[in-house]
């Protein structure tokens, strides 16, 4: 009986192919999702605590803007990938006919646009 060779764990597996790297980047958007929530909580605390000007000053610092630009890119990447992958998990059948993936994706992206518009309207409208 010969001994089989067991390859060692590849520490740089995520750098070996483009698709692995994209996958890891997709998963790492979660760090910025957490940051976006933390940022929103800071905003909420400022609004409720009457310190909105201080929060605005903090948000206007160059490093803070840079961080949020990256966070924006990451959350958009998350949104696109997550909404596009949804049809894999949800097989919708209407009367035996499988709703094609692009229709589910289109519906998801429409919902994204509508929710974004609603939030922007609520925040920006002049009472």
């Amino acid at each position: 009986m010969t001994v089989a060779y067991r390859p060692r764990r590849d520490r740089l597996w995520f750098a070996r192919t483009r698709s692995y790297t994209l996958f890891v980047l997709r998963e790492l958007t979660s760090v910025f999702v957490a940051w976006a929530v933390a940022f929103t909580l800071m905003l909420l605390a400022a609004v409720l605590g009457g310190t909105l000007p201080q929060f605005a000053a903090l948000a206007a610092r160059p490093w803070m803007i840079a961080l949020n630009v990256v966070a924006l890119a990451a959350t958009v990447f998350h949104a696109v990938t997550f909404l596009n992958l949804a049809p894999k998990a949800t097989v919708v059948r209407l009367d035996g006919w499988r709703v094609p993936a692009w229709m589910i994706q289109g519906g998801n992206h429409t919902a994204w646009a509508l929710v974004s518009l609603l939030v922007a309207y609520l925040v920006l409208r002049t009472p």
Binding site: R9, R11, F14, V24, E27, L28, T29, S30, V31, V33, A34, A36, V37, A38, F39, T40, L41, L43, L44, A45, V47, L48, G50, L52, A56, A59, A60, M64, I65, L67, N68, V69, A71, L72, T75, V76, H78, A79, F82, L83, A86, A89, N108, A111, W112, V115, S116, V119, A120, L122, V123, L124, T126, P127
Partner: protein, 113 residues
């Protein structure tokens, strides 16, 4: 049969993924980029105060915070294990990640109560 919490964690992760996709980009765009850059004016404190004074908005905000944090916790748990090869510490990592999500939810709740 062995019971596993994974289905419930996955449901929270999935729900959080949808909510994060729908809500977070516009929030970061407005408050994190456009307002600080002066492209859009900051709303008055009174307007934002009235907005978060609404009970429906508060409930929605709490749900958004909790679900998004569970989404992030779930992915950070798996990604850290895959990237660093520390899957054998999964119980500790899981407690840290989901514990962080629960803590964020508690912070949001105490802010708004």
């Amino acid at each position: 049969m062995r019971r596993t919490p994974e289905p419930y964690l996955w449901l929270l992760f999935s729900g959080g993924g949808v909510v994060a996709a729908l809500v977070l980009p516009v929030l970061v765009l407005l408050f994190g980029v456009l307002m600080p850059l002066g492209v859009v004016d900051w709303p008055t404190a009174g307007h934002l105060g009235a907005l978060v004074g609404n009970v429906v908005v508060r409930v929605v905000l709490l749900v958004v915070v909790v679900l998004c944090l569970f989404h992030a916790a779930h992915r950070i748990r798996f990604t850290s294990e895959e990237l660093l090869g520390i899957a054998r510490f999964d119980p500790i990592i899981a407690v840290l990640c989901y514990g962080g999500a629960i803590a964020g939810g508690v912070i949001a709740a105490t802010l708004m109560v």
